[in-house]
Subunit: 354 residues, 2 copies
Amino acid sequence: MKRRTFFKAGAAATAALASTSLLANTPRKLRLASSWPKNFPGIGTGVERIAERIKVLSNGTINVQVYAAGELVPSLEVMDAVSAGSAHMGHTSSYYAIGKNPAFNFFATIPFGMTANEHYAWIRYGGGQQLWDELGAEFGVKPLLAGNTGPQMGGWFVKKIDDAEDLQGLRLRYPGLGGELLRHLGATPVNIPGGELFTALQSGTVDGVEWISPWNDLAFGLQRVCKHYYYPGFHEPGHGFALYINLELWNSFSKEEQAIIAAAAEVENSAMLGEYNAHNQSSLEQLIKEHEVQTHKWPEDILSRLAAIVDDVIADDAARDPFAKKVYESWKSFLDSQKQWAETADIPYLAIRK
Amino acid sequence: MKRRTFFKAGAAATAALASTSLLANTPRKLRLASSWPKNFPGIGTGVERIAERIKVLSNGTINVQVYAAGELVPSLEVMDAVSAGSAHMGHTSSYYAIGKNPAFNFFATIPFGMTANEHYAWIRYGGGQQLWDELGAEFGVKPLLAGNTGPQMGGWFVKKIDDAEDLQGLRLRYPGLGGELLRHLGATPVNIPGGELFTALQSGTVDGVEWISPWNDLAFGLQRVCKHYYYPGFHEPGHGFALYINLELWNSFSKEEQAIIAAAAEVENSAMLGEYNAHNQSSLEQLIKEHEVQTHKWPEDILSRLAAIVDDVIADDAARDPFAKKVYESWKSFLDSQKQWAETADIPYLAIRK
């Protein structure tokens, strides 16, 4: 528990916020730093919808100005900016902060872990939000779930992957524990912002990348540099995005203002997922028919090796920090129960619907 | 298109609302008629949460009083009450109104149809809301999605069912198209309100019932009269509940008021699903361990017969009304695309996670 970090962040935030008098005045004008390119489908438009929803629900008394990645702060430093008070809010992935604490992984997505609905259920009814609040408070931010991708694709590769041997020595853009898993199979995981994926692939800086799913990947033009597209997304079964609010600011809000921001985030959590679901299949067909993309199920050799090590990789990573271990235990127990329910509910239903 | 019904409902609504001056005054006091027993887990508590959320988001200017099934109107007549203006809002299932138009089925749930996430995606991004608005306007109501059960269990039976022969002549409480399917296999479907299921089973009025899933079914005590519990819920893969608002009243709301009610409903749409997901597995274990309930996968004989006829049963039912046919076509095209995406996304992911 890094109390020093907390007090430092808290003090910086108070100073920054006091300078613009945001703690007292209305209408409030809030700066939201996003990790995504401007108006990017799904996550980008989702952030704009959050801002618009807050404005309408507050009858114009809370105005949120969205800044795309790089406009206010770099994509991967959004939480830091909210923590320090240079942005009032931020929309980002929790797992960009795993350098600070591995516990952040659990609030984004975990390989072989929870689907979007299960993740939401854990956050809201399984104790997840309390743990996330506790972690966020260490860094001076209030976290809220604010978007989910649903099941992702497994990623893009310049060269076809036939077995684990083909992964040896590859430089792959897989953030979080997905990358950690691939490291165990001999690859070198790196993290670079979404907006730089195309260039990184084109220049040969990386040999493969994961991004999201067909609708988003098509928009980035990844099909122009890669033709091999793998599934399922073992590494990200449903990425939950975070809306962070500077904690001092959050605590200064009225109950109504907090409810407005929480509702705007929570509506987006399902709206974004709905938008991905509505667009993915037609985008996938476009990738295959118009761009000669080949989809491949991950080779069994790779899937079975990953499945064999994933539990240990997750547990070992969490064991690096006592709080992360506590989060892991809550998460794991909830996941086990969800997996059992899926055996009675989702899995047999989807099987008979074919 | 029953224009006469619309004008009649509209006139009645205006009269009823004018009498309590609700079109003009604030704070607004609104009566919400629910189809569910008081504080019943999931749907019952979900309605209370909608009311509470509206109150907080509106800073107390909109107060919603929830009336349980039978307190204001009977469970199955909630939409009629909202239509006529005797209730301002209602929380119910769309498919209780299929006697008025078979199109209502598509806004609740369809056998072998969409999951909760797919249904939401169709309503929000696939043209579903526009069609539902059009249908609702015929009856003087504005419809909003406001809760989902997720995949249901297949139902409770007093006697064990080994094949389709065992369904012959049984009286089964399966509303909507699930019941229609079972009729084709020789059963007699009936609809009775949820609150009367236990008594109906105990008195032998019915031989089997579907309700929701373990968490809710346990609360109703169905395990005390039935020991055979079937899965998967082929008939209701994700029941989407409706919040109806009297259309004249809805049109009188400000943009902010409409946004508040819409956000309160939309948050509940995922909150309720999360609550079911969080509780179902532990309730299922309780049913099995403490109440000697036996779970059975539906016999293959029954599943294959149902799968063989389901497309025709749905299409034929919708063909009874031109508007229902239009809804069916939108729904079917969206479902087909979702089924394909599930083959790449959900199904292979859930398979590797085992």
